[in-house]
């Protein structure tokens, strides 16, 4: 990740890394100001979908700590009362949790409290509180600022001169509900444990398939290992919660246009993250990347109960989006045999340049919306145009060619000169050869010279 960098939302910095903070780029700074403060800063747009995905992945991982996990907005709630002894006490459990999160490259704020809302508020306020009883919780909560409450209520309370929750609770509660809304009073009661606060359990997905967007394209396979660790950690949590093991999983490396699938095979079902990592390392070490990787995904393709028999997920008929999983398997095998990118589909692409008018797309990629109709084009376009001699001022290919229609002038593509096909400037003709073949030929506008570009028949 380049540094300094910062995450931006609605034109304002939300969070900066250490180097950004040193340059003065703090929460609330405008984008233009950030550029002015550190011209080299990398600004990343906030991606709520990715935040959610990360939380989801962490929830899977948390299955390795407790079977009762719950998602809260931008937070994860773990019910740990029932598993304290398993881990050897609160401190030990907190340590395991913190290490597990850090190993995945996340930074988390932990707090422990008897009420979910209380724990959430304390964590968000960076208190590191470890309250095991209600009295301790009350003391900790009393010191929290009113800003933990909904913004409107917090603003109103600020106007009354109340800064902390403790001060709020000393105000007459009858008048207070009328002024800041009963919802806020209810929140307070829940946080303090005076009202029940049931939470919906996180439902561990029936099948494991988790994507991970990389913050920047990665070009070396070994560097993927660290990122992939998040996925394997989530997988082992998910397996733990299901008391299952995996025999085969596929790590998918997504490039800009295609993807590389790396199968991970295990001799017997396992939920052991150390084994995952070892196999992963072996596979990645030997992998030569064809293109930079922009995202990863991990899919458990064969899962079975740890004590039970093997069961292929493909067998129990979930069905691929194509409804033709056999062909899918065939394509997959073909792809594996022939090599990456050698099995593809062709789709029309809106570009005046004939060689750019089609595009290879992955087997399961969505076909882009149809390009507008184009003039007649030969079905068979040569990979690279074939130069034709000129005899008596006429193009020649096994005899002089007769020009039937044309010219159709194509001048386009200047924008990717030096990167891709580049600017073409050609006059195209349909020509009839001596052997009655219909050819598509062109003449270079600038340099002159005839070329054969395709066959109509």
């Amino acid at each position: 990740m380049p540094s300094p960098s910062a995450v931006v939302e609605h034109g304002r910095v939300l969070l900066g890394d250490e180097a950004a903070r040193r340059a003065g780029i703090e929460a609330g700074v405008g984008v233009a100001a950030a550029w002015a403060l550190a011209p080299g800063v990398t600004l990343l747009a906030r991606r709520r979908d990715q935040e959610e995905a990360a939380l989801h992945s962490l929830a899977c991982w948390a299955g390795s700590l407790t079977p009762r996990v719950s998602l809260a907005p931008q937070a994860l709630l773990l019910e740990i009362g029932s598993c304290l002894r398993l881990f050897g006490g609160l401190e030990k459990l907190c340590e395991v949790a913190a290490e597990g999160i850090a190993a995945q490259g996340f930074c988390a704020r932990l707090a422990v409290a008897p009420t979910p809302l209380g724990a959430g508020w304390l964590a968000r306020q960076h208190t590191d509180a470890r309250c095991v009883d209600v009295a301790r919780l009350r003391a900790e909560l009393d010191a929290l600022p009113v800003s933990v409450l909904p913004a409107r209520a917090a603003m109103a309370l600020g106007r009354f001169g109340a800064r902390t929750l403790g001060e709020v609770r000393s105000l007459p509660s009858a008048g207070l509900g009328q002024r800041i809304g009963v919802e806020s009073l209810l929140l307070l009661a829940r946080a303090y444990g005076e009202q029940p606060d049931p939470r919906a359990d996180f439902v561990f997905p029936a099948q494991f398939s988790l994507p991970l967007q990389l913050p920047a394209a990665v070009e070396n396979a070994a560097a993927l290992l660290f990122a992939a660790r998040r996925l394997t950690a989530a997988l082992s949590g998910w397996l733990a919660a299901r008391q299952a093991g995996v025999r085969e999983a596929v790590l998918c490396l997504l490039h800009r246009c295609d993807e590389t699938r790396v199968p991970l095979l295990f001799a017997e079902p396992t939920a052991d993250s150390v084994r995952f990592e070892r196999v992963l390392r072996e596979r990645l070490d030997r992998l030569a990347l064809a293109a930079p990787v922009e995202a990863l995904s991990l899919e458990a393709t064969q899962v079975s109960a740890l004590a039970g028999r093997n069961r292929s997920l493909l067998d129990d008929g979930g069905g691929s989006p194509f409804g033709q999983e056999d062909i899918g398997v065939l394509f997959e095998r073909l792809g594996a045999r022939l090599g990456d990118g050698r099995v593809y589909r062709v789709a029309a692409h809106a570009d005046h340049r004939p060689e750019c008018a089609t595009r290879r797309i992955g087997l399961f990629e969505k076909v882009p919306p149809g390009a507008s109709p184009v003039p007649p084009r030969p079905l068979w376009l040569l990979d690279s145009p074939e130069a034709l001699p000129e005899v008596d001022g006429r193009p020649y290919r096994r005899g002089p060619l007769q020009l039937l229609t044309g010219p159709e002038r194509i001048e386009s593509g200047w924008w990717d000169a030096g990167e891709h096909a580049g600017d073409v400037r050609r006059d195209y003709f349909v020509a009839l050869s001596q052997d009655a073949a219909w050819l598509w030929i062109y003449r270079e506008c600038a340099a002159g010279g005839w070329f054969l570009h395709g066959y109509f028949s």
């Binding site: 550029w35 009354f160 001169g161 009328q178 159709e408 924008w415």
Partner: protein
């Protein structure tokens, strides 16, 4: 040019005024068509005449025949090119374009076949028909334009060219509409293909690699050589273009502008009426008799006006000013013609020709056949009444605002080209953000490197080249700040009128330069905040005196006023309140009105770059002798001690010293700005310097004058403007000196305006002994007002409270006083937001106690919106502790942006003193070169273009303002402090020149954290 090739006239060609379509300037198209030997060129921008005047000028210069037309796509998809045959046809077409534009939102048009019926007389129609066009459409067109309609065949080397030609031939045979060749030209040369593709992508809001088939497949839509055209089109189709061109004889030169006639009463000639009104005005102005000098001046001016037949122009301005006076809207004219004796007599200006030694040479010159120029400033809050009066009097068909062409500049062209090339928006932002201050094109490659873009990579290279091509392209039409064009007949038959972005405004499709070129009259109806402030202050004084007190009641040349100005005690005074002006005042020490005229003009980029400030000061202080190289030069420069300060003087020097005619001199000035950018002013330079040395002036003197003209070209300030402004300077300074309370009321009610915030104005007034009271629902009106028995105390208005609406404020003022908060909420019909704002601002102190108690009280008050809410139970208020001084201060700044309590730095003074910072006041007592430390709130950051990278900061503390100079090397080193600090500590060296004190920074320390939650703001880099 090869005469054997068939002749050709291009009849379908759009310029870059067909926004995001045309990829060439009209001038380029004309020049290229001339080069290729075309017989004529039609400019047919899409439903627009905006490019015509430029094309006309260019065509006239090279002797090319220009045809005026427009391309229109009707709502049903039929695409027509309409060409004007003569003046009547031009007017009809202009009316059609206006109709289409006025029926749609800004930037769009809407026309149907019905709008074109029964045909447009004196216009020709070319139908750009598709291959599958229906014979019915052809019959409709033939009926609407009998014998004046064609089918255009436009060949661009598409694969179906031959089939299309055959189809159109069949259509032509069936309908009797003849075929003609046309080019659908979008660019003057093929080389603009890339730019044209970019424009297409921008129009479709995408990038060139994603836009696909919407791009033209090739670059054939350029002006093609006649050789190529001869190969592409059948000869009879080319010949037809010449026949059509022959039928179009209209030239923009035929447009005749006529002044409106209703400004003259029935039965009088404009000359008689003007004479009568001037005489009546002179009688009012000079009760004791008209001075001989003024009489002679009036006669001279009236003769000039009569010679040029400008009476109606002066009477039009007079009519508008008269309306303003009747409505008691303060106004003042300025500009070359405004400070004439005639305008003084008519009440257009208050600058008395008897009292000043102003020049009227630039007034109107017979040689320059262009309309006189009068700008009139009105109170900014009431200018809309004047605008609506003009619309009401002349109608929307006869009056409209001038357009301003908003064009691509370096930043915007980089931004759009970057977008079209598919460059990450972040990169583009980074690049353009870093360009904010350093807008120099030569440094662009460096800027690219600085944000991590390699200027030699293919895409970045294209980015640079295309951005350079796009720069200067028009992007859209906007409204001029206030330039009205008014005509005798229908204006929309002279130039199309379209809707402006602002509701109720309409603009013509031509800008200021266009109407100048065609000799149309423009009256500038401008808005000036200071006039509002003065009007409000005068109202306050009248209230106190119990009689009407006007501008004319203010005594002139009051020494006390000049003494105050000489001490740079000018916060709030018009023009001379800025940092740069304040630094000049103690040096220049103005002692009379004319000194103010000089003061207004001298602190400008022109005189500063021409290095005229210091010579003038030295001569004024007697440190340097005043000398003139000749008597002729002396006559021009005597009143400014031999140093040219005004634009008029520099022009006059070219006349008396280099033998230019006045017209040539003015031409020189106008050209200078344009040529300076493009380079190559060689021949004029030689003419000027040669002329002067030939008349016996030293070469050095000649060179200096040349440099000054160069500086003045862009930034010169005319004496006529300076004189009008100086009068407002004097008036506002008098108000500040003698009526500071009324003046503060005027300024606060006219915000936002001027250089200082409300907070600074209030602080300054309090330092001058004005009592200011806080806003309070029991006492305040919506606006700030005077109160007390002597009307000498300022009561801040509810308008200063953030988040309180004007209607709510008015209802409060009408229903005052109140029994309690509930009474207030009910009778003033307030909503929750209004009440919260009032409580937070402390405006309920009299009703509900301190801020916290007020907040508690309003939080449960009944408001209009929740009718269903039960009446609140009478709850007892808890004993909320009173907020501390710090909390009140924070609340004051958050809700009023000012405080009447102690200045925030008073509270921090101990901590600042620990760090050995002194106050602004203490700083002012220190000597030159003293080492000093000062800290304050940053209230202003400036980076003047004339100061080569130096940044000026203004710091405010409880004793006043400190000016800090930060040199570029320190800016580079301490960017973050310079840009970000709100409370800044400066360690530096004092620079003193008389009373003028600057602190030159050596090191900057950011103390913003000391402010805690206090929100302050700064005016930066405007």
């Amino acid at each position: 040019m090869n005469p054997e090739l068939p002749g050709y006239a291009e009849l379908h060609c759009v310029s870059n005024f067909s926004f995001l379509r045309g990829a060439s300037h009209a001038e380029e198209l004309v020049a290229r068509a001339q080069e290729l030997g075309y017989t004529a060129l039609a400019i047919t921008d899409e439903c627009s005449f905006a490019g015509l005047v430029r094309a006309h000028g260019a065509a006239k210069a090279v002797g090319m025949k220009l045809i005026c037309g427009t391309e229109i796509t009707l709502a049903d998809g039929m695409k027509l090119v309409l060409l004007a045959q003569n003046r009547a046809g031009y007017g009809n077409l202009s009316a059609i374009v206006s109709l289409g534009r006025r029926h749609a939102e800004k930037g769009c048009y809407h026309l149907t076949r019905g709008d074109l019926l029964p045909g447009i007389p004196d216009c020709l129609a070319l139908w750009v028909a598709p291959a599958d066009a229906s014979p019915e459409d052809a019959r409709w067109l033939a009926g609407a334009f009998p014998a004046r309609a064609w089918i255009a065949f436009e060949r661009h080397l598409a694969p179906d060219d031959a089939e299309r030609l055959a189809a159109l031939r069949a259509l032509s045979d069936a309908s009797g509409l003849p075929l003609v060749a046309a080019g659908d030209v979008h660019m003057h040369v093929r080389g603009r293909r890339a730019l044209q593709d970019v424009l297409t992508a921008l129009r479709l809001k995408t990038s060139v690699d994603a836009v696909g088939h919407a791009l033209f497949p090739n670059g054939e839509r350029c002006l093609r050589s006649r050789l190529r055209l001869a190969r592409l089109y059948p000869p009879e189709l080319l010949a037809e273009t010449l026949r059509i061109a022959e039928m179009c004889s209209f030239s923009l030169d035929e447009l005749r502008y006529e002044y409106p006639e209703e400004v003259v009463p029935l039965g009088q000639t404009p000359a008689q009426y003007l004479r009568a009104e001037v005489e009546a005005g002179l009688g009012r102005r000079y009760a004791a008799g008209v001075p001989a000098k003024v009489r002679a001046q009036v006669e001279h001016e009236l003769a000039l006006i009569a010679g040029m037949q400008y009476e109606a122009y002066f009477l039009t301005v007079y009519d508008i000013v008269k309306f303003a006076r009747e409505q008691e809207i303060l106004c003042q004219g300025r500009g070359s013609a405004a400070n004439s004796a005639v305008c003084y007599a008519l009440g257009i200006t208050e600058v008395d020709p008897a009292q000043s030694e102003l020049l009227f040479e630039r007034f109107i010159s017979k040689e320059r056949n262009e309309p006189p120029d009068i700008d009139v400033d009105f109170e900014h809050q009431r200018r809309e009444e004047v605008i609506q009066y003009i619309y009401g009097k002349y109608g929307r068909e006869r009056a409209a605002l001038t357009a301003t062409v908003i064009g691509y500049r370096t930043r915007s062209s980089l931004r759009d080209i970057g977008r079209a090339l598919g460059i990450d928006i972040d990169r583009i932002d980074a690049l353009t953000a870093s360009l904010a201050w350093w807008d120099k094109r030569e440094q662009l490659p460096e800027r690219f490197s600085a944000v991590g873009l390699d200027p030699r990579s293919p895409r970045v290279e294209k980015w640079l080249i295309l951005a350079e091509q796009l720069r200067g392209f028009p992007r859209h039409l906007s409204q001029h700040v206030g330039g009205f064009v008014i005509s005798r007949g229908r204006l929309d038959r002279l130039v199309p009128i379209e809707n402006a972005a602002m509701d109720g405004r309409s603009i013509i499709q031509w800008d200021k330069d266009d109407i100048d070129a065609l000799g149309l009259m423009k009256v500038d109806v401008l808005a000036l905040g200071m006039l509002t402030a003065i009007r409000r202050a005068l109202d306050g004084i009248s209230q106190r005196l119990g009689r009407r007190f006007g501008m004319q009641d203010i005594p002139r040349e009051d020494p006390a006023v000049y003494a105050m100005i000489g001490h740079a005690d000018t916060v709030g005074v018009f023009q001379i309140e800025s940092r740069a002006q304040m630094a000049m005042l103690p040096r220049l020490k103005p002692r009379c009105f004319y000194d103010l005229v000089i003061e207004v003009a001298i602190v400008r980029p022109g005189p500063i770059q021409g290095d005229m400030v210091h010579p003038y000061l030295r001569r004024r202080q007697g440190l340097e002798p005043v000398s003139y190289p000749s008597a002729a030069v002396q006559s021009v420069l005597q009143r400014t001690l031999g140093v040219p300060i005004f634009q008029e003087q520099v022009m006059q020097l070219a006349v008396v010293a280099a033998g230019f005619t006045p017209g040539e001199a003015d031409h020189l000035r106008r050209s200078m700005a344009a040529w300076k950018r493009k380079g190559g002013v060689g021949h004029l330079r030689e003419k000027l310097i040669g002329g002067m040395t030939g008349r016996g002036y030293a070469r050095e003197f000649a060179e200096a004058i040349y440099r000054q003209i160069e500086g003045f070209g862009e930034y010169g300030f005319p004496e006529s403007h300076a004189a009008s402004f100086a009068l407002l300077v004097y008036i506002s300074a008098w108000l500040k000196r003698h009526e500071p309370a009324a003046f503060l009321v005027g300024l606060l009610n006219a915000q936002p305006m001027g250089f200082y915030s409300a907070s600074q104005l209030v602080q300054d007034a309090r330092r001058h002994g004005v009592e200011v009271r806080s806003p309070d629902v029991q006492h305040s009106a919506w606006e700030t007002a005077l109160e007390g028995e002597a009307f000498s105390v300022v009561r801040l208005g509810l308008h200063l409270i953030d988040g309180l609406g004007a209607e709510a404020g008015a209802r409060i003022a009408a229903a005052r006083p109140f029994r309690d908060v509930a009474d207030l909420a009910r009778r003033a019909g307030l909503n929750r937001g209004d009440l919260d704002a009032l409580a937070a601002a402390g405006a309920l102190a009299a009703l509900a106690g301190h801020r916290r108690q007020a907040a508690w009280a309003v939080a449960a008050a009944p408001v209009q919106l929740d009718l269903l809410q039960e009446a609140p139970a009478l709850d007892t208020a808890p004993e909320l502790p009173e907020p501390g001084e710090g909390e009140n201060l924070v609340a004051d700044y958050a809700t009023l942006r000012l405080t009447l309590g102690r200045h925030p730095l008073t509270l921090l003074r101990n901590r600042l003193a620990e760090r050995r910072y002194v106050t602004a006041e203490a700083l002012r007592r220190m000597g030159h070169c003293a080492m000093a430390r000062c800290a304050g709130l940053v209230t202003c950051r400036q980076r003047p273009g004339t100061a080569s990278g130096v940044i000026f900061l203004t710091l405010e503390d409880e004793t006043g303002l400190t000016n800090v100079i930060v040199h570029p090397h320190l800016v580079d080193k301490q960017r973050r402090e310079v840009l970000g600090a709100r409370l800044l500590g400066v360690l530096g060296v004092l620079q003193r020149e008389g009373e003028v004190v600057h602190l030159v920074a050596k090191r900057l320390v950011d103390h913003t954290p000391l402010l805690g939650r206090l929100s302050t703001s700064s005016r930066d880099f405007h």
